[in-house]
């Protein structure tokens, strides 16, 4: 049983106009086997939350704590956080020219597991996972994310999720840019991971569409850098009907 606990997290970025506070006191707990959806309008700070927790150097932690099973992860380097069991599926996965998917995955798995997987078993494992997510085996020879379509990039992220078996996964708008078929395949991958590996998922999304395939245990509404409401699936349905207007006003009023 694992737990990612975010307490009163304040995060800033430095822009040309000076220091700007993006996260204004986030409190969240994500547990093994649970799917927690975070929904919010564009610019509310959802992606910042994902990147800050994963340790992107652009984001400065002003105050607050993030612990994974009691361990302070804010003190860890980005790779140490991954080794501790944290995974981030990115909204815009980065292209790495000249580095093949198979080389990248093998390097990553070797780092995460602490030893190089046996070649034959590894190829079997990788090809099996690629088949499940609907990726052709020739994909492993392509360069990481280079020339991938939007759907291919997202499948590649979920492929990594399945292979890396994290304790806690943050999925940043994994549903964006996907057609219905790809959305279904990616969602099945997420559900498999939760079922098989008991991964806790923080599912960041703008739309309710993905929640038809991935059923959240909890839904939180994120507006202006913090969580403003938390409930069950019914909260998502309300957002589907009424949008974020009510919550935005509430914040302005407060």
């Amino acid at each position: 049983m694992s737990e990612l606990v975010i307490k009163d997290l304040h995060v800033t970025v430095t822009t040309d106009d000076g220091v700007k506070e993006i996260l204004k006191g986030v409190d969240l707990t994500i547990s093994s086997g649970q799917t927690h959806a975070i929904m919010g309008p564009n610019g509310s700070g959802k992606s910042t939350l994902a990147y800050a927790v994963a340790g992107h150097p652009k984001y400065e932690i002003a105050s607050g704590t993030v612990t994974l099973d009691g361990q302070d992860i804010l003190d860890m380097s980005v790779d140490e956080r991954a080794k501790a069991g944290l995974f981030l599926a990115m909204q815009y996965p980065v292209e790495i020219p000249g580095v093949s998917v198979s080389n990248f995955l093998r390097t990553s798995i070797t780092a995460l597991r602490g030893e190089a997987p046996k070649l034959r078993e590894w190829i079997k494992e990788m090809n099996g996972a690629m088949k499940e997510i609907g990726m052709d085996p020739t994909f492993s020879e392509r360069n990481v994310n280079e020339g991938f379509s939007g759907g291919e990039k997202k499948r590649h992220e979920i492929l990594q999720l399945e292979l890396m078996k994290p304790k806690i996964a943050i999925l940043d708008e994994t549903d964006s840019g996907l057609d219905v078929d790809a959305l279904r395949i990616v969602s099945e991958g997420i559900n498999r991971t939760v079922a098989k590996n008991n991964t806790g998922v923080l599912l960041i999304t703008h739309y309710t569409r993905i929640l038809r395939y991935v059923k959240p245990d909890k839904v939180s509404v994120f507006v202006d850098g913090k969580v403003v409401a938390t409930g069950g699936q019914e909260l998502a349905e309300e957002l589907e009907t009424n949008g974020y207007v009510k919550f935005s006003k509430a914040t302005v009023g407060a």
């Binding site: 994963a54 340790g55 790779d79 991954a82 292209e95 790495i96 020219p97 000249g98 780092a111 890396m164």
Partner: protein, 380 residues
């Protein structure tokens, strides 16, 4: 042998290379550079052991050669080689005036071999000058590797002659010790339907200055001048490339990828392509991409393209210098890969497109080993 060399004499005319560029084999025809000349503005002349002024040879160069079966190699004295090599700067001319023994490699007519011909030069402390002639005869097909290591101060020129219909891969590895200095002028002459692919790999040394020049002696020739260079802390690597399209329907591709890491590392690339009035149907592209790995590194990149005819098939040039991408490192590290390994992957990936073209397994492995060693030097 003599016949081949006489043919070559015709190829190099008295005014050679870059338009309006003077060429000579006599060092006294060139003033001693002071660093303010366009040609020498980047080169740290203080660190080159007076190769540009008055350094004389303290020893001969020792050529170690392993030839592919059928390939002929000879080490000859000045009296035995009648080269008319004309240099375009003072170090090139001094090298031409001062070498004592030349290495001559001949790939016989119609010889096709997948085996490598490997020339190894291990430079020694002191000053040394060398000269190499590689002659790929009609319809031959082979690969020659020139591997230069060691220390000291050296000037080594090379003539590469590709006869009609020949295919030649030429890989020039410069991986000297930290204090080594090597200045080279290489001249490629490509005849009708000949195809030369050349790759320079600069990884080790205090100063490396490479000046490759290609021209054609027949129509429908093709040349690729490729380069991979990675300078670490304090190292200075310079490439001055010139392709002279002086024949019809010839093709050239210049692609150099450079990296610099660490304080006072400095890489320089100057690429000139000239398409003369006669050279209709030319297809040429030159590209330089540089990757700066930290804030102490510096890159200079100057592409030039001069076109005297409107009837070209394709002519383009480009230069891009960027910094190591934080987002690429973050992506890899977020998958558990530590920072040094992530940097290594990104740098290897940056260069791999060029190495990938040379598929001989021994060669590929050796190049990758040397590149990885150079990347690791940046972490120390």
């Amino acid at each position: 042998m003599t016949a081949a060399l006489q043919e070559k004499e015709i190829l190099f005319k008295s005014v050679d290379a870059r338009p309006d560029r003077f060429a000579s084999s006599n060092p006294d025809d060139f003033a001693i550079p002071n660093g303010r000349e366009e040609d020498w503005r980047y080169t740290p002349l203080k660190r080159i052991g007076n190769l540009h002024s008055d350094a004389v040879a303290t020893q001969d160069i020792n050529y170690e050669i392993v030839v592919a079966q059928g390939v002929i190699s000879k080490v000859l004295t000045r009296e035995e080689v009648k080269t008319k090599f004309l240099a375009t700067d003072r170090i090139g001319a001094r090298t031409q005036a001062l070498w004592a023994k030349a290495l001559v490699i001949e790939i016989p007519k119609e010889l096709e071999t997948k085996d490598l011909t490997w020339i190894k030069i291990d430079l020694k402390p002191g000053v040394q000058f060398g000269h190499i002639i590689i002659n790929a005869k009609n319809f031959s097909n082979s690969t020659v590797v020139l591997e230069q290591t060691g220390t000291g101060f050296a000037g080594i020129n090379c003539e590469i002659i590709a006869e009609p219909g020949s295919n030649l891969d030429f890989i020039n590895v410069c991986d000297l010790d930290r204090k080594g200095v090597l200045v080279s002028e290489h001249q490629f002459v490509i005849d009708k339907d000949a195809n030369v692919r050349s790759l320079v790999v600069q990884l080790g040394g205090d100063i490396l200055r490479y000046n490759p020049r290609a021209k054609f002696s027949g129509n429908h020739g093709a040349v690729e001048l490729l380069g991979v260079y990675l300078a670490t802390q304090g190292q200075y690597f310079e490439n001055r490339v010139f392709v002279d399209h002086n024949m019809k329907d010839c093709k050239s591709n210049v692609l150099y990828r450079g990296g610099a890491q660490g304080k006072d590392s400095h890489i320089v690339w100057v690429g000139d392509v000239m398409i003369r009035k006669i050279a209709t149907g030319t297809n040429t592209y030159e590209m330089n991409r540089n990757l700066l790995l930290d804030s102490g590194a510096r890159a200079d990149s100057v592409p030039n393209l001069e076109i005297e005819t409107g009837q070209v098939e394709k002519a383009g040039h480009a230069s891009v210098t960027g910094r190591l991408d934080d987002d690429q490192l973050f992506y890899l590290m977020s998958r558990g890969i530590d920072e040094p390994t992530a940097r290594q992957l990104v740098i290897e990936g940056f260069f791999s497109g060029i190495f990938g073209e040379f598929t001989h397994p021994d060669l590929k492995e050796k190049l990758n080993q040397r590149l990885n060693a150079a990347i690791e030097r940046g972490h120390q």
